[in-house]
């Protein structure tokens, strides 16, 4: 059985590989296989999987990609992820990707879908809109039709039907994935010294670049290995990180926060595998199941409208309570409209709930960690002092 170090090393290799060698190999292994890329925050991977495609998470270029052509498409006041994504495309690193899904996050990612259509006319490119009306008969029925359209698009791409049974099988696998992901998160919240976020993060990111069944096994292996290892517990404070759901911070930033004396016990990094908070029903109409789970049981995040004022930010407060976090680090990418426009409202709720917080901005290629370490360290110290 693998050790956590081995599993994490495997994940890190996947995470750092901007040529997507593993995904290329998956595609080459069988003729006719298709790869469908997706951006943050949420798309129903089940449908992609049911069509026999590999859903491939495209989360920007991280801090190792030099962006030349991507910058040519964006003004200085726009975040980094669309730049590096274009760079990946222009440098042919995504030339094996047959389809691209741009989910609703914000206007930048939305518009990127149009850029992609123009730049890569041979790639099946779709903007994937999720409803902002959460009434089952209004937003729900609309969403079912959207999901059907997605299914039809994929059928066209792969050249065969995607049956309800195909969908149910995929849903079952993803339900298991969600359960395992929740378990890892719960384990980390319980024993953060045994499952540092710098590891859990890689484990989750890697899962978005491989087949779900493989990832399920990996999650089990990691849990088993992490549980066995005895790592020293430190006098760290427990924090939740929010605002990082789209453009991801560099791994160094996560490490810096941990090194500054924080255990991250909750976060919204690469949120897609926790986006649906409950199992999707496998009985009945699978499309309806996916739609209604989104309507009834998806997380609160900045790219979703919160119908009731009193509910705004309450998800965050509740998760902080559940995971025993002592404070919140609201860390957002620079120029991230969703996270930054939400920030005052979420922070008001935190204040009302007496939850301390700090806020700062980053970019996926942030180089300077000293200010991060200082802020996180000071925050940790202040929590210790007052608790």
């Amino acid at each position: 059985m693998s050790s956590t170090a081995e599993i994490v090393a495997q994940c890190q290799a996947l995470y750092e590989d901007l040529d997507f060698t593993a995904a290329r190999a998956w595609k080459a292994a069988k003729p006719g296989r298709k790869v469908v890329g997706f951006l943050p925050v949420y798309v129903p991977l089940e449908i992609i999987h049911a069509a026999g495609c590999l859903p491939l998470g495209i989360f920007g270029g991280g801090d190792s990609l030099e962006v030349i052509h991507g910058d040519a498409y964006y003004q200085s006041y726009i975040c980094r992820i669309p730049r590096s994504t274009i760079e990946l495309g222009v440098t042919k690193r995504l030339d094996f990707v047959d389809g691209m899904l741009f989910p609703f996050v914000c206007d930048v990612i939305r518009n990127l879908s149009g850029i992609w259509k123009m730049m890569f006319p041979n790639v099946w490119t779709k903007f994937f809109d999720t409803p902002q009306n959460f009434d089952a008969t209004i937003g729900g029925s609309y969403y079912m039709k959207e999901l059907d359209e997605l299914r039809e698009g994929l059928e066209k791409l792969v050249g065969h039907k995607v049956t309800d049974d195909d969908l149910r099988r995929s849903i079952t696998l993803y339900n298991e994935n969600r359960r395992l992901v929740r378990e890892v998160y719960a384990f980390r919240a319980a024993k953060p010294w045994q499952a540092p976020t710098s590891e859990v993060y890689l484990l989750m990111r890697a899962g978005l670049m491989m087949d779900v069944a493989e990832h399920n096994q990996m999650l089990k292996d990691y849990m088993a290995a992490a549980d066995k290892e005895d790592r020293p517990k430190r006098d760290n404070v427990r924090v939740a990180i929010y605002g990082s759901f789209c453009e991801q911070p560099p791994l160094n930033l996560i490490k810096s926060i941990e090194m500054a004396g924080c255990y991250v016990v909750e976060d919204d990094y690469a949120l897609i595998n926790r986006f649906l908070m409950s199992d999707v029903p496998t009985e009945g109409n699978p499309i309806e199941g996916l739609a209604m789970t989104y309507i009834k049981a998806s997380v609160e995040t900045s790219c979703k409208y919160v119908p009731k004022e009193e509910d705004k930010g309450m998800y965050h407060v509740q998760r902080v309570r559940e995971t025993g976090a002592e404070g919140v680090i609201y860390a957002t990418p620079s120029f991230c409209d969703p996270a930054l426009l939400d920030r005052p409202m979420i922070c008001h709720r935190l204040t009302e709930a007496n939850i301390p917080y700090i806020a700062f901005k980053y970019a996926e290629n942030s180089g300077q960690m000293q200010p991060i370490r200082e802020q996180a360290g000071t925050f940790a110290d202040s929590i210790k002092l007052w608790s």
């Binding site: 040519a72 498409y73 964006y74 003004q75 006041y77 726009i78 669309p82 741009f102 609703f104 914000c106 206007d107 930048v108 939305r110 518009n111 990127l112 879908s113 149009g114 850029i115 259509k117 123009m118 730049m119 779709k126 903007f127 994937f128 809109d129 409803p131 902002q132 009306n133 009434d135 008969t137 209004i138 937003g139 029925s141 609309y142 039709k145 959207e146 359209e149 900045s302 790219c303 409208y305 919160v306 119908p307 004022e309 705004k312 620079s334 120029f335 991230c336 409209d337 969703p338 930054l340 426009l341 939400d342 920030r343 005052p344 409202m345 922070c347 008001h348 901005k361």
Partner: protein, 427 residues
């Protein structure tokens, strides 16, 4: 600078706006209900059915920008924790609220009775009204308008909007106003809308004439005013567009260009441009002057389409009232995908015989700005006409660099001039 010289239609519009602000600020005396809503996809005819007065925070922000007070409001909002990175319309609005929320007529804005979140084409709208809702704690009606990701609207989208209108928006407005919805009233207002829209389209299309009797960007802001705001569906708007049409017709007869703020007709038109992106409001006249001083007239623009693409054939339709409101919301410029925007701009450059596409890239507005460089390249490629790119902001005076913009504009105009003279003779 001298006082702005105004034409008759401009004075008419000024009065209409003043009356609307009066209606808003006197709600406690009149007992009328007030809604806040957005320009793209606004449902003015529907609000009129309930006697609700329409207040548009975007327009308020523009007003504060033009009156040069937005800078203070923005800084006030930033002091209160709003990021320097985000939309300055939102921050101007919030800053204004925290400074007494005084309307342009000097009276305080009353709290809105309902926030009609017509969510079309701009992500920030959703957050903006979540922020206002936090402040006002008033009913908020979300109308989600799906984006035309694949370059067209679908029946699914239309049905979804109509269903929201029937089950969310109309019942919500009935409740707020205490007025029962009357679809025949709506039909009547929509008929008014269509009449005014016909005349607006006629005016915009006169940009094809040389010299152009209109400026479709700086002047265009005035032309679209009533249709885009609280007057679509009113007889006032019909009258306004009749007057505007007469003015444009008169200029055509005299072979005159549009009237500049200096009061002179702008006849010496050397360059014809299509402009993409909203204008800057804090230095509106200065910005405009940079164009007409150099002989550049704008013959078509995308900004005059944020409240609907009437020139592409859309009209409000009394026969299909709710469906036509849905189609209207779906068809606003910022709800189009980028390939559709490129198609439209290319068409404008060609049909209006423009020298090229100029983009004014607005820091606040990612719905417009993200992808504009790609769009410019594409339009250049398709038309063979050079593009240019300048940057500013909506209402943040800190982000307007006159020297920088002037430098680029001049370089651009001279490049056009040089290309015209042809190769071999570069002077």
């Amino acid at each position: 600078m001298s006082d702005v010289v105004k034409e008759k239609s401009m004075l008419m519009q000024k009065e209409m706006i003043a009356r609307n602000y009066e209606a808003i600020t006197s709600k406690h005396e009149t007992g009328r209900k007030v809604s806040s809503t957005f320009v793209p996809g606004n449902l003015n005819e529907l609000l009129m059915c309930f006697g609700i007065v329409n207040n548009l925070p975007e327009i308020n922000a523009i007003q504060s920008g033009m009156r040069k007070v937005s800078g203070n409001y923005i800084q006030e909002a930033e002091k209160r924790g709003h990021s320097e990175d985000v939309c300055t319309y939102v921050k101007a609005d919030i800053g204004q609220m925290s400074r007494g929320n005084i309307a342009p007529n000097g009276k305080p804005f009353p709290d809105p009775d309902v926030l009609l979140l017509s969510y079309t084409g701009c992500y920030t709208f959703m957050k903006w009204f979540e922020l206002l809702r936090e402040e006002y704690k008033c009913p908020t009606l979300m109308l989600h308008v799906p984006y035309q990701g694949d370059g067209h609207s679908t029946k699914t989208m239309r049905d979804y909007i109509v269903k929201q209108l029937k089950e969310v928006v109309i019942p919500g407005l009935e409740q707020v106003s205490g007025v029962k919805f009357d679809i025949d009233k709506l039909r009547e207002f929509l008929r008014n809308s269509a009449k005014a829209e016909d005349d607006l389209v006629w005016c915009l299309e006169q940009g094809k004439i040389k010299p152009s009797p209109i400026d479709a960007y700086f002047g265009g802001v005035y032309y679209i005013g009533p249709i885009f705001t609280a007057f679509r569906g009113t007889t006032d708007a019909i009258e306004y567009y009749k007057a505007l049409k007469a003015e444009v017709a008169e200029r055509i007869r005299l072979k005159q260009g549009p009237t500049t703020p200096d009061g002179t007709p702008f006849n010496d038109q050397k360059y014809r441009l299509v402009v993409e992106g909203p204008p800057n409001w804090t230095n509106f006249r200065e910005f405009w002057k940079m164009f007409y001083d150099e002989g550049a007239v704008v013959v078509a623009s995308s900004y005059t389409k944020v409240g609907g693409l009437y020139d592409q054939g859309f009209r409000h339709d009394a026969e299909n009232p709710l469906e036509s409101l849905a189609d209207y919301c779906l068809g606003c410029y910022t709800n189009l995908n980028l390939p559709s925007r490129v198609d439209l701009l290319t068409k404008y450059v060609e049909e209006y015989e423009a020298d090229g596409l100029l983009t004014n890239s607005i820091k606040s507005c990612n719905s417009f700005s993200a992808g504009q460089l790609m769009m410019m390249k594409e339009v250049e490629r398709r038309t063979g006409k050079p593009g240019a790119f300048v940057e500013s902001d909506l209402v943040d005076p800190r982000y307007f660099s006159a020297a920088n913009i002037k430098n680029r504009l001049e370089s651009y105009f001279q490049m056009i001039e040089q290309k015209r003279r042809g190769s071999g003779k570069a002077a």
